[in-house]
Point group: C2
Chain length 331, copies 2
């Protein structure tokens, strides 16, 4: 697609109002300006989604593609215990296959999600490309100085937790591939499809965790808990033990085979729930703090001294959970 | 190209040391962390270069492509009067046509330029794409609170200046298209080719301008002075008069036809010099401040009351200089 008028298009997707009082200059000059604060740390991340690799029109509308591209970045801010503040968007637009309306929908998906966090769009770029659409998002966030949450913070004896059910996004994708994007899914299936198309980054949970003033290790589950738990284990140099049965799942998941369920829950990724650890004596307080916000947090395992890695227990089975596969312990 | 091992590749391009003391957490967690300061404003920008649109291997080596992708973003920081501090890089890698060595060269081009500003690489992404290579760079910078330089700052009576010769990049590209990338260019031609392949963002000049504590309007010349001067005129709601003969040019430019020269100088872009305005009574001090740093600044016109737009004078000719073309005044 060639934009009829790039200037007009950029105008159409530029915000007409701004939310944040620390924004000095948004879109319209060479760069954006944000007032700094000595009490805060800036958080910054950048993620790219490419058509045909991370999304296809068969399973993701342009609106959902935009929504998810921003959500995955906000999730990285949440995983540091921060609040998202600003975002920048660069889109490489294919010469064919995308209409200007679809491109507007992509930006609308981002704008609607950003509004629920009172974020502002402050910059970006639009270019054309010979291949599929490539959307790159940069998100900035803020966290109180010293209160950021790193994956290296886990210690022997910690409780391992997750902030919500896993495997929904992968199950939803499977449904979308088996049926189609407009299929009349039942309510349970719809939740899985929504988990794939409109994942909710857990800024609320990250905020509670940063406010506890406890030592918390934290990752967002973008690549499946198998991968993310291993990253915490490696960064913190200890062993993480997970109990498969304690991992919360979606109700709609019961209609999948046990093997499919396990694959979705352990390796699926793109759930954007948080996985973390906190010392056992702070666990009850944490559950209470979540309850006060009408949220749940689920104990799924423990951190113990040992070789960096993840042990998974499921019924009688125990083995090493690698980033992409499971190996039974030989007896 | 498929990376043999994405993890290993990312490790190979990740910095082994960091430069900046305000960096709390670089690559290696969900996001980067930077300590804030109430005395500073954060500057942030994002630019994308796409293969076949912004660069081709016939005229730009992978090293130069990386160099220029970062330079264009640093230039936006300079145009706000700031110092660049951090950068993030996302590369969408074609399935064919790029080797891992070429990709390393792309990152090396950025790393070498960033080192001259003591910047740190703090994040990004690598994905694959069905089309040409797409590289998106986000750069952060800092400027003293309230000392940023906006294009809306020009006033009636201001002197219009540029920080160096224009048209070099466009002339260099023409040479590269006429000859080839390995051609033994003579020293004057080489300067033009360098202006295209390795443009030097004018952080030094922006820094002087921010330090003057004068009201300065400023733009970087990424799209040609015709376009950039019009942006200042529109943002400041006044007329800018430019004297073509006062615009500094490269020595090597003399071998091009007069029409080619004018096209390069006025519309060429990618020179990454700065164009700005300052009140006439501060002009001599500004020249002096540049001299102290062994730099030059060139008076090329004036800002006057009038309809937003740019008037170009060249010998006996006078007319309106639009963003992409010139219209003689009818007599």
């Amino acid at each position: 697609m060639l934009l009829r008028d790039e200037f007009e298009f950029i105008k159409s997707i530029s915000p007409t109002k701004t939310n944040r009082t620390d924004l000095v200059q948004g879109i319209g000059d060479d760069a954006a300006l944000v007032r700094g604060s000595s009490e805060l740390e800036d958080i910054i991340c950048m993620d790219t989604m490419a058509e045909g690799v991370h999304f296809k029109k068969e399973t993701m509308s342009p609106y959902h593609t935009g929504y998810k591209a921003l959500a995955s970045n906000i999730s990285d801010i949440a995983a540091m215990g921060g609040d998202p503040s600003f975002y920048l968007v660069s889109v490489a637009i294919p010469k064919e296959g995308w209409t200007e309306e679809e491109l507007s929908e992509l930006y609308r998906g981002m704008a609607e999600l950003s509004e629920s966090y009172k974020m502002d769009l402050i910059g970006g770029d639009t270019v054309s490309t010979s291949g599929g659409l490539v959307v790159t998002v940069t998100v900035m966030g803020k966290v109180k100085r010293g209160r950021h949450l790193l994956r290296e913070n886990a210690r022997d004896g910690d409780v391992v937790f997750v902030t919500g059910p896993l495997g929904g996004s992968a199950a939803g994708l499977q449904l979308l591939l088996e049926k189609e994007i407009g299929y009349p899914f039942n309510p349970e299936e719809k939740k899985l499809v929504d988990a794939h198309q409109m994942p909710q980054p857990r800024v609320d949970a990250g905020r509670i965790l940063a406010k506890t003033n406890a030592r918390v290790a934290l990752n967002d589950i973008s690549d499946g808990i198998a991968s993310e738990a291993n990253e915490i284990a490696e960064a913190s140099e200890l062993t993480i033990e997970l109990e498969y049965e304690n991992i919360p799942k979606y109700d709609g998941h019961a209609s999948f085979s046990v093997e499919e369920q396990k694959s979705h829950v352990l390796y699926g990724g793109e759930d954007y729930e948080l996985v973390g650890t906190i010392s056992a004596d702070k666990w009850d307080d944490l559950v209470e703090a979540f309850k006060e916000q009408e949220l749940a947090v689920y104990r799924v395992g423990n951190a113990t001294r040992g070789k960096p890695g993840v042990i998974l227990k499921h019924g009688n089975q125990t083995g090493m959970l690698g980033k992409t596969g499971f190996n039974h312990f030989s007896k």
